[in-house]
């Protein structure tokens, strides 16, 4: 996945996952690289309009 996607693209996908499954209980450890296999920081972390 790291070859296919940049860190930013991966992070966007992790946010989609977190929106459906905030605690990452569904099929954990699949799809995303293990180091990135944790919930993303959530809405507070989203870039804000200036």
């Amino acid at each position: 996945m790291r070859v296919q996607f940049t860190e930013i693209e991966l992070e966007q996908q992790r946010r989609v996952k977190s929106a459906f499954d905030p605690e990452w209980l569904l099929n954990t450890a699949k799809v995303f690289p293990l180091q990135a296999n944790t919930p993303s920081a959530g809405p507070d972390d989203l870039p804000r309009a200036a």
Partner: protein
């Protein structure tokens, strides 16, 4: 080796409480905790990896799925959705602290509507079971993974599976109209409907191919199609992989879309002919199976065009199937290909990259060079028309060095696919195999 996360210690300690909690939610016999009965669920199609789960549950209704998910969510327990467990990327591989939710008991066809050409089925209906339910009326469900006898529509949604005939009809995502999805909180969502497009965001686009990461599909509305008037297959044999690859690129580049366009190299041809007796050309380095469909006049015209293109690539032979039996044998060989390779080498890694068809000759040459460099045999059998490669790398699982080399070889192939503008999974999904 692929690393898996550490199990949650607090969940392992609560094992008995989790088992008891699940038993309250489901009927007798739907919760499996006994190690000997858990054993069949410890792996999937990526059988080099195994892990016994905390428990397996076999719900019979959407409401039971919702109850189990709600319970797991409240108790912080991980969940692994599972269809038939044929995933080749480890998508259904259990975790030690996870409850596997097996969908096989939800195997009912709920409604068939021929006038509006859709069928509503539960997630545990097999891929071939859908066609089985409608073929008497002259209909079929188009996506046809080679595992179609076993794999289930829920798993097909997980992986956005394809097959030989997807060149013309599209993959799972192009043939699913609606999904009933249960979220981890136990909420039941209706996505899509019974027609091609719905208002608002395309939720189906996000859910199909999401590998059991966003929710569990329990009921699926699929498009069914009228079966074609007739089909005919032809075999084209070539002197090398590169020239056969160039022929594929030329056929696709000309704008012709055969219903299937499959590639097999020498090791694959020999392995498959040995059991299918399909009349495959044993003197060839590479072979294409090309299938067209429609009325007899349409078939004749298309085959004429295709033969003309093939003739430009110095074919050893071009043979059109003369009967339905002959065509059936041709497909028996192709669809049984992975099993046939299993007879030459008990262990193999099946890679699944996609590349632009115009790069086929170059990529096949590079794979051949890598095979020499790693000292591991490789067989190529794949959906050439879609540019969906399946190099099967043969190795010896009892020898860690050989397995390590096979994984490195596979990773190099996938990097090559990305490098030429393709991607690292065509239809088998990312799973654990390609996550790194």
């Amino acid at each position: 080796m692929i690393a898996l996360p550490l199990p949650k210690a607090d969940v392992l300690i609560r094992r008995d409480a989790v088992h008891a909690g699940l038993r309250v939610l489901l009927p007798e016999g739907c919760v499996i905790t006994d190690p000997t009965r858990l054993k069949p669920y410890e792996t999937d199609g990526l059988s080099a990896y195994r892990q016994m789960p905390l428990a397996v549950v076999l719900p019979e209704t959407t409401e039971q799925v919702a109850a189990v998910l709600r319970f797991c969510h409240e108790n912080g327990v991980r969940v692994v959705p599972r269809g038939a467990g044929t995933s080749l990327s480890g998508g259904a591989l259990p975790l030690a602290d996870a409850v596997v939710i097996g969908m096989m008991r939800m195997n009912q066809v709920i409604e068939v509507n021929y006038r509006d050409r859709y069928a509503v089925v539960r997630a545990g209906v097999t891929n071939l079971g859908i066609t089985g339910a409608v073929e008497a009326e002259g209909f079929f469900y188009a996506p046809d993974p080679s595992s179609q006898l076993a794999c289930m529509i829920g798993g097909n949604i997980g992986m956005n599976s394809g097959g030989a005939h997807c060149l013309k009809y599209g993959v799972t995502a192009n043939n699913v109209l609606g999904v009933r999805l249960v979220t981890i909180e136990g909420e039941i969502l209706e996505l899509g409907g019974t027609h091609l497009d719905t208002a608002g965001y395309d939720w189906l686009g996000i859910v199909i191919g999401s590998e059991g990461q966003l929710g569990i599909a329990t009921e699926i509305t699929v498009r069914i199609l009228r079966a074609p008037e007739g089909t005919r297959a032809m075999l084209a044999a070539f002197e090398g992989n590169e020239v056969a690859g160039a022929c594929v690129a030329a056929i696709i580049g000309s704008g012709i879309i055969p219903v299937a366009l499959e590639f097999m190299d020498r090791p694959a041809i020999h392995a498959c002919e040995a059991f299918a007796h399909a009349g495959y050309p044993l003197d060839a380095e590479a072979m294409l199976i090309i299938e067209v469909e429609g009325s007899v006049a349409e078939q004749d015209w298309l085959l004429g065009q295709i033969k003309e293109i093939c003739a430009g690539f110095n074919p050893i032979s071009l043979k059109v199937s003369q009967s339905a039996e002959e065509s059936a044998a041709i497909w028996k060989g192709r669809k049984g290909a992975f099993g046939a390779i299993g007879r030459i080498s008990p262990d193999y890694l099946c890679m699944d990259g996609v590349i632009p068809t115009s790069t086929l000759p170059m990529v096949l040459r590079r794979i051949g060079e890598m095979s020499v460099q790693y000292g591991l045999q490789v067989a190529n059998i794949f959906h050439a028309g879609d540019g969906n490669l399946h190099p099967l790398i043969m190795f010896d699982a009892n020898d860690p060095a050989s397995m390590h080399k096979a994984e490195a070889f596979g990773a190099e192939i996938l990097c090559l696919c990305v490098e030429v503008g393709g991607c690292l999974t065509g239809e088998h999904g990312v799973g654990v195999e390609n996550a790194i």
